[in-house]
Symmetry: C2
Subunit: 669 residues, 2 copies
């Protein structure tokens, strides 16, 4: 079958950015300049022109940007994303007959016989005809123009005809760059080819790319060892957390905790009276005003009112509250009685609890995403987010999203984003790469990563080479956690204070988004539940703690300094420029990040037990430093300046003192 219009001679293909052929949006940050590239070409030798078309979802009409030929048929154009939310873009290409004609005319003019020479090579005879052809083309262009442009173009048409009529022994070029530019403003796009798909783009706010998280259990926030913490106690800690340089305060679930099959300290299957249970066993029998499920506050923590107050106070400190959304129910959750079809039933009529045979989690009922009432279930889960968004919570850490249906997340996040494009979602999915990436493509803003388990130089390099380069960076924003309440890595267990310093510096400089579970982290809490376990002994998940935040071994001062460095150095606020440099010592990892003039270079000792030293071999192009020159490196952790020379430089790092240099690099002179 012939196409409707067979005269569209241009091909537009290989648009970038593109996530899974446009099935999912590429992600960018408010204020970013988005560079779009495409292959645009036609048959023969005619010149092509191309423009980028883009619009925010709120706009009906496309905006246009003229694209530039980057060589080898690849064109590029930029646009600034100045609104949150959904954008679309695509590319249009067409044959530019006037530009082709102008280029041919130059060649004809160049081949004219020299009027000062007595030899007569070449010929002028075709030039008048060529000028008339150009006049015709420009006349069509003039017809599309209005006002002064129209008048100017019409005058040029007349002057081309006048030249042709006059004749000459030697013609000067009548087409200036200004004329070409003027003509290009009125392209004939009637035979333009548009790329077959309008590609989606999602624009988040800055905190999607650069954020610093502090996780704490509100029930451990009490300064009084005789009682558990409440939101009021968390409020009192806000100045201290803000002073450390964090901007997101993340709390495990704050909902009522079930009593059926409640777990005791150290995950004991039998709870004693007074045991507090796990905040992730959500939902208690509904009694008016006090208990309930995902839209209720645990009465021991406070009320909706004190929660709202905490949210407001946190903002006053330049920080935000992040809530933990864990879509599962304790047997006491109101959903269990109100919506039994949302759970799987066993042949004996009982509800299926969570299992990983032979392990059983009778205190947790998973939701059944194959429920006949999946519509009702989706709606209610969305309503949970909506409820808290309406209370001004704009960041959610989602517990185990990979155990809920992936299409649900794509719908739910889009639904929340419709009215609130500023809401951020962090996926706590420690699972296989395809599933983690699929959650990110489906709408999760940030994701936990394998960083926690990458401790050697080749492991770290390989992993970060993958997650900080396209295509991954177009949809996946890593958030690095050296510890979580679930993960106390062997490296921290064995390495103690130096290991805590190392992993903090790595997380904070490799990743623009990172977080710690504190105060366990500052205080170097590293006793495992069992020798080969990654669980904490006396885990805060099952009991309240009383931390001594003023302990002298706390690494809070280092954290404070590192977060300040992040704030003052734009290079550390994104990941795309991450580049690894060689070091001859396998225990020394060296990498840089660059943003304009701001160049940060990190050299870190990965061994917690002893000093490591060696030569690092800098890739000077990455650092924007000419060869064979001196340059200044200032260790931002200590304030010390060194003058380095060319690519080879020496470092020696003592883990127990300070395991890393975080240099700011400056050209001299």
């Amino acid at each position: 079958m012939k196409p409707v219009e067979g005269r569209k001679r241009v091909v537009v293909e290989q648009l970038s950015p593109q996530v899974d052929s446009g099935r999912y949006p590429a992600c960018r940050i408010l204020g970013d300049t988005v560079t779009v590239t495409a292959a645009v070409f036609g048959d023969g030798h005619d010149h092509v022109a191309a423009r980028l078309m883009y619009r925010h979802e709120s706009e009906r009409r496309w905006r246009f940007v003229t694209m530039v030929d980057r060589g080898n048929d690849v064109w590029s154009g930029d646009f600034l994303v100045d609104q949150l939310g959904s954008w679309q873009f695509t590319v249009q290409g067409w044959i530019d007959h006037f530009d082709t004609w102008s280029s041919d005319l130059q060649k004809r003019l160049a081949a004219q016989p020299d009027p000062h020479s007595i030899e007569t090579v070449g010929t002028v005879q075709d030039i008048p005809l060529a000028l008339r052809t150009g006049a015709l083309l420009l006349e069509e262009i003039a017809a599309r123009a209005k006002g002064p442009d129209h008048r100017q173009l019409t005058e040029i048409v007349a002057s081309l005809r006048w030249m042709a009529d006059q004749g000459a022994v030697f013609y000067e070029n009548p087409i200036t760059p200004e004329i070409l530019e003027l003509a290009a403003r009125y392209p004939d796009t009637s035979l333009a080819t548009k790329f077959e798909r309008d590609l989606p783009l999602w624009v988040d706010r800055e905190r999607a790319r650069y954020s610093t998280w502090y996780e704490l259990f509100p029930r451990s926030a009490s300064p009084d060892p005789t009682r558990t913490g409440r939101f009021e106690d968390v409020e009192k800690l806000l100045p201290e957390i803000a002073a450390m340089g964090f901007d997101v305060v993340y709390m495990p679930p704050v909902h009522p905790i079930g009593t059926a099959y409640r777990k005791g300290p150290n995950n004991n299957v039998v709870a004693q009276d007074g045991d507090l249970g796990s905040p992730w066993a959500i939902g208690a029998a509904k009694a008016p005003g006090v208990e309930g499920g995902h839209k209720s506050i645990h009465p021991e923590l406070g009320t909706l009112k004190t929660f709202d107050h905490l949210v407001k106070e946190t903002r006053k400190h330049g920080m935000e509250i992040a809530m933990d959304i864990a879509f599962q129910a304790s047997p006491d959750h109101p959903w269990v009685t109100e919506h039994p079809t949302w759970f799987k039933h066993r042949p004996d009529g009982t509800i299926q609890y969570a299992e990983n045979p032979p392990k059983k989690y009778q205190d947790i009922y998973p939701l059944d995403f194959e429920s006949v009432d999946w519509r009702g279930l989706w709606q209610e889960l969305y309503a949970v987010f909506k409820f808290w968004v309406d209370r001004d919570v704009k960041i959610f850490r989602v517990d185990n999203p990979h155990t809920k249906a992936l299409p649900f997340w794509e719908w739910c996040i889009a639904e929340v984003h419709k009215d609130h494009p500023d809401v951020l979602f962090l996926a706590e999915a420690f699972t296989r790469p395809h599933v983690m990436y699929s959650l990110a493509k489906g709408g999760f803003t940030q994701s936990y990563t394998y960083f926690t388990w990458r401790t050697t130089k080749p492991e770290i390099q390989a992993y970060f080479e993958e997650i900080t380069k396209p295509p991954v960076t177009d949809f996946f924003q890593p958030n690095l956690w050296p510890n979580t309440p679930d993960i106390l890595h062997e490296f921290l267990q064995k390495g103690g204070r130096p290991a805590f310093m190392q992993r903090l510096i790595l997380a904070a400089t490799l990743g623009a988004n990172y977080g710690i579970y504190g105060p366990a982290y500052e205080l170097g809490e590293n006793k495992p539940a069992k020798p080969v376990s990654e669980e904490y002994l006396d885990s805060e998940k099952y009991e309240a703690k009383h931390w001594d935040r003023t302990a002298p071994h706390s690494i809070a001062p280092l954290i404070t300094r590192v977060n300040q460095i992040r704030r003052e150095n734009k290079a550390l606020q994104s990941n795309n420029s991450l580049h690894f440099h060689n070091a001859d010592n396998p225990n020394i990892l060296c990498y840089s990040k660059v943003s304009g003039d701001n160049i940060i270079l990190v050299a870190i000792n990965l061994d917690y037990s002893q000093q490591q030293s060696g030569w690092i071999d800098l890739d000077l192009r990455e650092l924007n430093i000419p060869h064979n020159q001196n340059f200044d490196v200032e260790d931002l952790l200590t304030g010390t300046h060194y003058t380095w020379h060319d690519r080879s430089n020496y470092v020696a790092l003592r883990p127990e003192v300070l395991p890393a240099h975080v240099f700011r690099v400056t050209r001299l002179g």
Copy 2:
């Protein structure tokens, strides 16, 4: 907006092969086994299953193949393409509840207390309930089965229930691999996810991938120097061409040649009486029966009848005629008067001839693909192919397809392929990579390449690394030409006979498709029109030649031997296994191709002037040879055997004698 069915929990993505997101078909050859891979995964820990769906365009119903989990969520499946033409394939994935249940049951059973032990760890209490769950799941499967399978499944359901009713202190596993296999035959695909696009695949006949072309000018085929050649003379050469091992006989255009602005010998702008003109200046004033355009035969070559006879005779020798289709017109072409709108007009009313300012080609009128009558033009160009296909021509070499609208080719080739999927198209496009690839994606079976200009080791390696690997191999089949009537490369001009031997061996072993322009090639014709020109002196394009095919310096015996080696060694009949091996001498290129047990290893001296020798370092894995072993290499050009050992081996090659080894590699013992 919620999806229609939200319970489809599986994601299917990253299907391969896929050309430009399925915009164009991937290409395969009749009899190929097509391997399809996809990422298939769901949420949580449930097991997924996947199947490949495929069908030929003539089939309404899908055929299915169970896919296999290759690890890390990647699944693969194969199907055989047993018909030419268009195919479609896609992938479907779903949660396999029975398989998930069976796997959980194994874990429960493994955790049972040992009945012979007096200790009572673990518990059996859940097993009866689990068996009942399995019985329910299997009952649903049985309901989809018929006949003996239905009966057998129903019996298993009953036996699971019986086991559950009986109770036991220790349960044996009731689920055998046979039961799993039986159950898998009746999957519940009601909640299956199908990949969003049915992907296209095009299947060509064998000659698309493996062909050996011989180009000759029929007007030079006369054995009598006093007259020009005719089709009858070409027929007389067929035994000789077949004996050399060619299977495609390609002739430049055989249509009437215009007289207006006819070119004389050596492209002289003024032709003398009796000058024959260029076969590419197609079309002469129509006089009944003798002249005309693209559907006519030049009366000096013969008639449609003698042409048909030649086509038939060629087939008798196991070869095929390839025609040259050059869509352009001499000023005398009937199109010029009958369809003036198919050409561009200048402001003075004259038709625009071909130009590349300041060069002019007044003997050629290009077609205007922006003609208002583009529909009529497309139809007529298609009709040209149709005319010759109906006369049993099934291979076309298309002249300069990149100067005709790309969308035209996609339509036209598809139109020809509708009734004749066995027609092959070779694109003579020496232009930029994007345009060449676009023609291949749009339907051209084979393409000329940059091989002609790649003469050094790094150039050859880099280029062939690109064009013999996916994604390029999914749509682009190279056809390598060491010379053409338009291109006499400097390497041949300077290198003489050794250079001709080198380039022939390279073309024939690097590319499963290759061709030569003969007898210029066998006879080592290498005088350029001018010192820096790639044009031949006294080019056959503008005059008839009388070649002495029996000249003693002819390399026809080498060509014959090389083509015989290609025929006897499957490895040389495709490109995908091409692998380069290191050699310490920069003038020695070494590479292998493998097909099953057939292993060909080529070592070639790229220097035409002197002997080169050195050590080659074999990648033994590619050759399927164990380390530290002896193996046999037989030089198929000479019949000589050598015993080689391990990876390092020595070669010395004299260009004037035989510039290459073409080894067949065999394991010993």
